[in-house]
Every structure is written in C-alpha cells, then in structure tokens.
C-alpha cells in the first residue's frame, strides 16, 4: 500500500527504456554473470560448428587426467576419456548439440505454442476447448516419460529428441499465451481500441501482444533450462544423441563405466550442463526483475 503511493508518481525525466532496464538488470551481479556465460556458450557453440577438430580415438591417450592433476598434460586441458578423446574439444563440439538443439526446440515450442494460444484465445468456445484439453493431455504425462514415448515412436536421435522436448514444452507456452491474452482482452484499453475501430488482428498485434511479450519472455527462459536438462537426460538414456556424438548427456552415459577410476570424465560434462542451466536461471532472474519493476507501474 505504501510503496504503490510513492512509485505511482513517476517523473517526466525518466531514463530511456533500455537504460533503465539495464540498470535494473545489472543491479544483481548474478544476472550479469549469467548473461555473460550464456553469451560465451553461444559463441563457442557457433564457432565449434565451423571448426573441425581432430579428435580421434587413441589408445595411447586413454584416461589422462585434467591438466591441473599431477599426471595431466597441457595438451589435454581437461583430460581424455576412455577412448582417448580430448574432453575439452568434445565439450566444445557438444555445445551446439546440447545447447543448440535445446534452443531450436524452445523456439519451435514458442512459435507453435503462441500461435495455438492466440487462435484459442481469440476464437473461444470449441476451438479453445479442443486446444486446452489436448494441452492438458500432454501436460498430464510427466515430461521425461512423454519425451521417451515420442522418441520411441520416432526413433532415437538428437533431432527427434529435440522434437519430443518441443512437444513437452508446448502446453506451457499455450497456457501462458491463452491466460494472458484473455486477461488482456478484458482490459479497458482493449475496449477503447475496439471503439477506435481496430480490427481483431490489429488489436491482438498492437494492443494485446506488447503486454503479453513480457511473461512469454520469462516462460522462454524457464523452458530453455528445462529443455537442456531434458535433452541431456534423453542423451544419457541413449534415446537422444547417439554415440559417438559428443552431446553432453551422451557423454555422461559413456562415462559411467570409467566413473570410479576417472571421475573427471563424468564430472566435467555434468558441470557443463550445470553451469549452462544456472546461467539461464540467473539470466531469467534478471529478466524477471525488469518485468516486475515495469509491472509495478
């Protein structure tokens, strides 16, 4: 009650939108750190697509510990695995697989989900019922179980895993879109826009969408971290990326046999997944703060 009274009187000399958003975002250092790490991973993913690394199996370089270990060498920064492959370059190669496919998966779910949500929110009654109930069905099945089912139907593989995860993520986007669009449609400024002669599509685009973009952005970051974990899990189970693809989840599966004698082979891919997901969460936190701050007005 008290804070609303103060903050509702904003001054005319407010910072430009982007500046004030950055100020809010960067006020928490973890958010900036998250953003930084994500950028690095993104750049590494892109660059590793173009760099051809020579990573051959070699019995002579089996299970070399990371360079900081007394038995490690500087040639293999993070050591080698059971088949003598350099772990660091494998992680780099795996980045576009784990991170990249997750990104594509989320993008697919976002576009289809928002599309379905908009159609359902607008046409109401039967269409909405059909969409909501099918989303409920997808939602009712635990995400990993559903992904496994889809992959079992489509056949194992990284792309199919990506598709499965996209289906799993779909209900969240549809629901967010439907609930926020319906909420927006009841607002007085949408009525005013109708009286201003706006066509339904114009209302959706100009009046409704800008206010729905914020919660959707948040949903996307959450979906991304879920996607990464799910795709890695599918890879671990052998249903996603198949050996010898250096997808991080698949690397975890391969490392199981040598876990006890060479813990770095399992720890490092696990850390990679952990760091990526944490960065996304921190970044999402920062975005959340911007959205909450803007919503207070």
């Amino acid at each position: 009650m008290v804070s609303v009274q103060l903050y509702s009187q904003s001054s005319a000399q407010e910072n430009s939108g982007l500046q004030s958003r950055w100020a809010i975002f960067s006020s928490k250092s973890s958010a900036v750190l998250g953003l930084l790490i994500l950028c690095i991973i993104f750049i590494l993913s892109l660059s590793s697509l173009f760099i051809d690394s020579s990573n051959t199996n070699s019995l002579s370089t089996q299970l070399i510990p990371p360079s900081w270990h007394e038995q490690g060498t500087s040639e293999h920064l993070l050591g080698t695995d059971l088949l003598g492959r350099d772990i660091f370059s494998r992680l780099l190669e795996g980045a576009p697989l784990t991170f990249g496919i997750s990104l594509l998966s989320v993008t697919f779910a976002l576009l289809v989900g928002v599309g379905l949500g908009l159609v359902a929110a607008f046409y109401r009654k039967h269409v909405q019922l059909a969409v909501m109930r099918s989303m409920d069905i997808i939602f009712a099945i635990p995400s990993l179980v559903l992904a496994i089912i889809v992959v079992s139907i489509l056949g194992p593989g990284l792309v199919n895993a990506g598709l499965a995860v996209a289906i799993v993520l779909l209900p969240n986007f549809v629901r967010t879109t439907i609930s926020h669009v319906i909420e927006e449609m009841n607002k007085a400024y949408v009525d005013a826009a109708k009286l201003d002669g706006a066509t339904p599509s114009r209302i959706l685009l100009k009046s409704v969408f800008p206010n729905v973009a914020a919660p959707l952005t948040l949903q996307t970051t959450i979906a991304l971290s879920t996607a990464i974990v799910d795709i890695a899990a599918l890879g671990f189970l052998g249903l996603g990326a198949q050996a010898p693809q250096p997808e991080w989840g698949a690397m975890l599966a391969e490392a199981r046999t040598s876990m006890h004698i060479a813990p770095w082979v399992v720890t490092l891919p696990g850390l990679a997944i952990l760091i990526t997901v944490l960065s996304i969460n921190f970044f999402g936190d920062g975005l959340n703060r911007i959205i909450n701050n803007k919503m207070r007005h």
Binding site: A12, E14, K187, A188, Y189, A192, A193, D196, T199, N211
Partner: protein
Amino acid sequence: MTKRATIKALSLTKEYLNSANLFGKSECFTALEDVSFTLTQGESLSILGEAGSGKSTLAKILVGAEHATSGVLEIDDKDVSKVKSNKHQNRNRRVRMVYQNTMGSLNPSLTIGEILSEPLINMTKLTKSEREERLFNVLELVGLKSDHSTRLPHTFSAGERQRIAIARALILDPVCIIADEPLSVLETSAQSQIVNLMLDLQKELNLSYIMISYNLDVVEHMCDKIMVLCRGRVVEYGATQQVLRNPKHPYTKSLLSRTQSPINRKLETNESEMKGCIYCDRCMDVNEHCHQQKPEQVLVDGCLVSCHQYSETNKKATN
C-alpha cells in the same frame, strides 16, 4: 437558427438473452427499456443511476459498441439503429467515450502518440504527416505539449492522463463525448482543471456531453438536463435545477438524499415478474395500483416523470 438535435434516442430497449440454464429455460434480461431523450449541440446531459441501472449499457449503445434490441437512435441526423454495430468500421465515431479509470484505459506499453494515432489510422484516410498534425493539434487543445507524444502513460499524473483520454475522444471530431465518472480518481486540484477544460472545449467546439457521475455539485454546474435511470427505465428526466431542487419520483428523492440502499440487479430474480412499476418493491409511497400497472410518463413542472402519483388517472381520481 434553431439548434439541431445532435442525438435523438427514441424508445431504446436492450435485452440480453441469457444462455439456457440447467432446466432448459433461457432468460431474458432487460438492461434498458423504452429510454428516450434528445441532446442538442452544446448541451450536456447527466445520467444518474446506480450500478446496474443500465447507464453503462446506454453508453455502449451510443458509442456503437452494442446494438439496441429495438428503438431508434439518430446521431447527427443519421439513423444508426439499423447498422450492425459489431462491425468495427461502423463504430459511431461521432460519439466518443472517456473512461473513469485513467490508468486502465490507456495501454501501458504504447506511447501517447501511438494511442492517439490509433483511431486516426483505423477510421480515417489521413496520411502520416496529416495524422501527426492532427495529433499535435489535439494535444494542444487539451493543454499538453507535442513532445509528450513519445512518453508512456505511467509517466503522467492522473490529471494529465485524463487529458490524454479526452484528447483520444476529441481526435475524431465527435459531436458528443460520453464521460463516465471522469473526475472520481482525480485529486482535488486536478478535478477543477478538468472541469474547466471540458467547459472550454464545449464552448470552442460546440460539443455535447453525456456525464455519468454521482458528484451532484459537478452535475449541477456542468449539465443542462438530468435523466434518472432505475433498473433500466427512465423514472425522471428534466432540467438540472428542477430535478435536483424539486425531485418528483420517489427513487430520485431517495437517491439524492443518499438514503437509497443499493439495488443489486444481478442478485434479484423477481424483476421479470414485476408487472407494474419497476420501483414498486422499494417505494415508500407505494399502493396497490403500482404493483398492477406500469406508470405512464407524464410532464410535471417541465420534467418527465414515470410515477402513478402524477399520472392523469390518479389526478382524476383524487380530484
């Protein structure tokens, strides 16, 4: 030169058909019944009524958001009652609306320029530069500056936001503006500013106003006529001074003295069964006749009143 009637409403009725309930009966809810009034250029009408009395429905019909079930509506000498008003192109651009909630009626993600250009883009064929010119003209009319057009709504005070809402109504050059409690969310110093703005605009542009407000001092100062609605029917309609100083209808009397306990139409189920006067269940001066027959509208001291106390037959009976 006699003043033309800007708005002529004759027996407007609006019925909503509720979808069938569990027992298969679909009920008819009469939001408005037999509402008639006229408004000439430069005149202001106040609609007095509680929540649920039908004043919002009437406003929606006048701006074209809803379509009356029966009756005739002429705006600026054009009969708009036959037009299918759910087509977005046929919105009554001659009658525009200013809402109560200044913050809620302006899209928080759009700049003032975008909000004000919307009606121009949709309903006129002006070019971009013509639109911009009109935008700046209208901002000036309401006392704002042209460089305000790049700012977002929340950066303005409530009084300024109400000016923006008025600008949005003015931008299509209407003959009438409907203002729904335009002052209630404003602080004291802003209220009188907006009143002055509205009065100036009325003089300058020969605008008519329909004010929905409970603030009787404001109504007395700004409006020429008052129409009192009860349960969707007009119970009293006449000059402001007459209605305020010398109310005839029992409902008007209790409303003005603030002793009226709220009528909640949503909870009441007996309305459709009332054959007589719609106020007979709450009226202090009720008699048997009131339950049986609907009162006619009678002219008493220059006001139209719907009450058996003043009807011809009653007069004859008492004489």
